[in-house]
């Protein structure tokens, strides 16, 4: 590896992949479904975000599950309240249907606009958001489920609408249009704590040359490393950070930096 400075390598710890809590919001409150079903009440999103902020989380993703199904815009007041007290990058998804929505979110301090339904229904939005905010702030979240024939298909509208589209085709098309990051979620594994769908993550990571974020199924810190070994640039999780124990008692947690460094064997 050539080093343009011609100086010896820096003595710095290696860069650790990002570990990202994902919080799901419905009607202004925090819920956590399992396999896109039976959302369980978790608490107040403001409180949860404050905890992740205090624990120094790498980044945070907020997804409003109710915005698109209710055909409404993002809840800007709630997002502003959350973002103004958070000092980490925040991605927001849910109800972003025009570039104006994305611009307004950015002005509040949201780092990344996350597009899900519109990526399939009106993909030109990806180009507009990318032109305005830059590719690295334009994220497409792909929810995929395996059908009886064993093929993965993309779902939109919070997992309620089958599009029949291939997730790899949507990932490539999204990147071609300017997405700088892809979140790939196996819907069946959501909330299962059973581990990520590693072959799906690998397939998407091999198909695109932008960072891929693994989502759906993380149950223990080792899963993060396995996702990265499969090709993900970052690992995201929901249930693991809001529930604890076999009875899934609500407890908002985030691993310490030392635990995360150990998991990725950087310590």
């Amino acid at each position: 590896m050539s080093d343009p400075t011609g100086l010896p390598p820096l003595q710095l710890p290696p860069m650790r992949p990002r570990v990202i809590p994902v919080l799901l919001i419905k009607d202004g409150l925090l819920y956590k479904p399992q396999g896109f079903r039976a959302p369980r009440y978790v608490g107040d999103p403001r409180v949860a975000v404050k905890i992740f902020n205090d624990k120094g989380a790498d980044e945070l993703v907020l997804l409003d599950m109710s915005a698109t199904p209710q055909r409404r815009e993002p809840d800007y007041a709630l997002i502003e309240e959350i973002v103004s007290e958070s000092f980490m990058p925040i991605g927001y998804g849910g109800g972003i249907r025009s570039v104006e929505h994305a611009a307004r979110l950015a002005s509040l301090g949201v780092e990344k606009a996350i597009i899900n339904t519109a990526a399939v229904e009106s993909p030109a939005l990806i180009e507009e958001v990318s032109a305005l905010l830059g590719a690295s702030s334009t994220v497409v979240c792909i929810d995929a489920k395996r059908n009886l024939l064993g093929n993965y298909k993309v779902f939109t509208q919070n997992g309620t609408r089958a599009t029949g589209m291939d997730p790899l085709a949507i990932a490539k098309e999204s990147v071609r249009r300017g997405a700088g990051e892809i979140i790939i979620q196996d819907m069946k594994r959501e909330g299962s704590l059973a581990g990520y769908n590693l072959p799906l993550i690998k397939a998407v990571a091999d198909a695109v040359d932008v960072p891929v974020v693994a989502l759906g199924g993380a149950g223990r810190p080792e899963d993060f490393r396995m996702a990265v070994e499969a090709g993900a640039a970052a690992a995201a999780a929901g249930s693991m950070f809001v529930f604890q124990g076999t009875h899934r008692a609500v407890l908002i947690t985030y691993p310490t930096q030392n635990v995360l460094d150990d998991v990725f064997r950087l310590g």
Partner: protein, 209 residues
């Protein structure tokens, strides 16, 4: 009072949020008279170098900012694209930087790993460690800091004297911070870097060069 220059390039909400949390007075402005009176300047910026440099030129800010720094000795902190604008130019596209530090922005050139894996993706996105290349009051109290980065280009200085912080990505050693006189630039986003960013911004606010 920190005067944040609003030249219509990006997301300034987070910077204001962090100064508010720190209890440091900060205001956003695009007015020449405010900038001329400022005792401390912050140049933010995200996006494309040519667009940013174009806006700076179009709004008549280039000579104003150069005079503030070179004649009045006003401290100026450039963040992310604001740091790249402190140099002369960029490989990203045409446009004139402020020319306050002899430097050019160049793209990350990353190669595949030794075992043939894909090279790391560009942009360099995420939290990374930095090492100080020299002492500076804005680095007070920062021990083993980590900062949040998002960038595809980095600022290559003509003189090593101007390098403040260094980091490494995909085997490429790059400048994460630059400093010369009353000018400082950081490639990362202190406003999104938890307590490390707070420490750096409060050091900048307290700095009396």
């Amino acid at each position: 009072m920190i005067t944040i220059i609003d030249y219509k390039m990006g997301n300034l909400g987070s910077i204001l949020n962090m100064f508010r949390r720190l209890g440091i007075e900060a205001k956003l402005t695009d007015k020449h008279e405010d900038i001329a009176k400022a005792d401390k300047l912050l140049l933010p910026g995200v996006g494309n170098f040519s667009r940013c440099a174009g806006n700076v030129a179009q709004m008549g800010l280039r000579s104003l900012l150069r005079d503030k720094v070179l004649k009045s000795g006003t401290p100026l902190l450039g963040i992310c694209m604001g740091m790249q604008l402190l140099g002369n130019d960029s490989e990203e596209g045409p446009g004139e930087g402020l020319g306050l530090i002899a430097a050019s922005s160049i793209k990350f050139r990353l190669q595949p790993g030794e075992t043939g894996q894909k090279p790391p993706t560009v942009p360099h996105m995420g939290w990374n460690h930095v090492a100080a290349a020299k002492e500076h009051p804005v680095l007070t109290g920062l021990e083993m800091p980590r900062f949040y980065f998002v960038h595809s280009y980095w600022v290559d200085c003509a003189s090593r004297q101007d390098v403040l912080l260094e980091s490494s990505y995909g085997g490429c050693r790059f400048n994460a911070g630059i400093a010369n006189g009353t000018v400082i630039g950081v490639q990362f986003h202190p406003e999104k870097s938890h307590r490390y960013g707070m420490q750096l911004l409060s050091n900048f606010a307290a700095w009396r060069p």
